[in-house]
């Protein structure tokens, strides 16, 4: 794949990922000071799961690393987000909702790893 094509496809995948994040977040979000922001949970955990499914395909050489750049770097990188997650935690902490802030921080981090590992295990098992 030529560099120009790789860059173009990564940008397109990134645009799709961002749009997907907006749509998915809108499905679960209910605003409220006493609630966990659920949008980032959905997109970030889905993204980690998808990355876990994708990784064995590259590790075993079933797809080339250029598709990893497009799908993992572009699509999933844009669908998941770190900045919003951080801003949400700071906002919860400013409202003195420290328990929620801790759940948002540690829970999402732990479940992100869990989603990746489970998906990676399933994907590797299916490839055989």
């Amino acid at each position: 794949m030529s560099p120009a094509l790789l860059i173009t496809l990564t940008a397109v995948a990134g645009g799709l990922g961002a749009a997907l994040r907006l749509v998915l977040s809108s499905l679960v979000t209910t605003s409220g000071p006493g609630a966990l922001p659920r949008g980032t949970w959905l997109v970030n955990l889905l993204g980690c799961g998808a990355l876990g499914l994708l990784s064995p395909l590259v590790e075993t050489g079933l797809i080339c690393s250029c598709w990893f750049t497009i799908l993992a770097g572009g699509l999933l990188g844009a669908m998941t987000t770190f900045s919003t997650w951080m801003v949400e935690i700071i906002t919860l902490a400013e409202r003195r909702a420290l328990v929620l802030a801790a759940i948002q921080l540690l829970g999402q981090l732990a479940l992100g790893f869990a989603a990746y590992f489970i998906a990676h295990f399933v994907s590797a098992a299916m490839i055989g």
Partner: protein
């Protein structure tokens, strides 16, 4: 900042303090979706650029993602309380800059994926990377809020805005 009059619905009647504008559950409008996609494409390009400038070899500290996530957190915090407040900026500007550009420039999946790959080679770096990203990201977002509010107050000639102005959770 006062919230606009909202129609009380089952979703919003229970919790709508001043400064928080609850949003009924519905799909985003098409032009906002397109602006988010455009910002997202540019954010992904920028991330690809940083990744190319700071290549990662699976055995060392992933400086590229680390730098992207920290700068993105700072910029999002700063933008949300300074330029992108509902009074100053349109929903279009927020969709493009916050949800699209910065939301896509930063990434959660790469943080997790790189941490796992690092654990195969250098487990110490895994902890350093994951914890460093989170602690650094929180610090940068808080710093962004702080600086943004200061600038905002200075330019508005008032210091009345102490409430967090991140009004819509799903903004990015």
């Amino acid at each position: 900042m006062s919230s606009p009059p909202t129609t009380p619905t089952a979703d919003t009647a229970t919790d709508s303090p001043a400064g928080l504008r609850p949003r009924p559950r519905r799909l985003p409008r098409l032009h906002l979706l397109l602006l988010t996609a455009l910002g997202g494409a540019l954010g992904s390009l920028a991330r690809l650029g940083v990744n190319s400038a700071l290549p990662w070899d699976a055995a060392n500290f992933p400086w590229a993602t680390f730098a992207e996530n920290l700068t993105g957190s700072f910029l999002l915090g700063w933008l949300l309380v300074y330029l992108l407040t509902p009074r100053r900026a349109s929903a279009e500007a927020r969709a493009f800059l916050a949800t699209g550009l910065l939301g896509s420039f930063t990434t959660f999946s790469a943080l997790i994926g790189e941490s796992v790959i690092l654990s195969d080679n250098t487990p110490v770096l895994t902890g350093l990377y994951a914890a460093g990203s989170v602690v650094g990201g929180l610090f940068c977002a808080a710093l962004g809020f702080l600086l943004g509010r200061r600038l905002h107050s200075a330019s508005e000639g008032s210091s009345s805005d102490h409430e967090p102005q991140h009004q819509r959770w799903q903004d990015s």
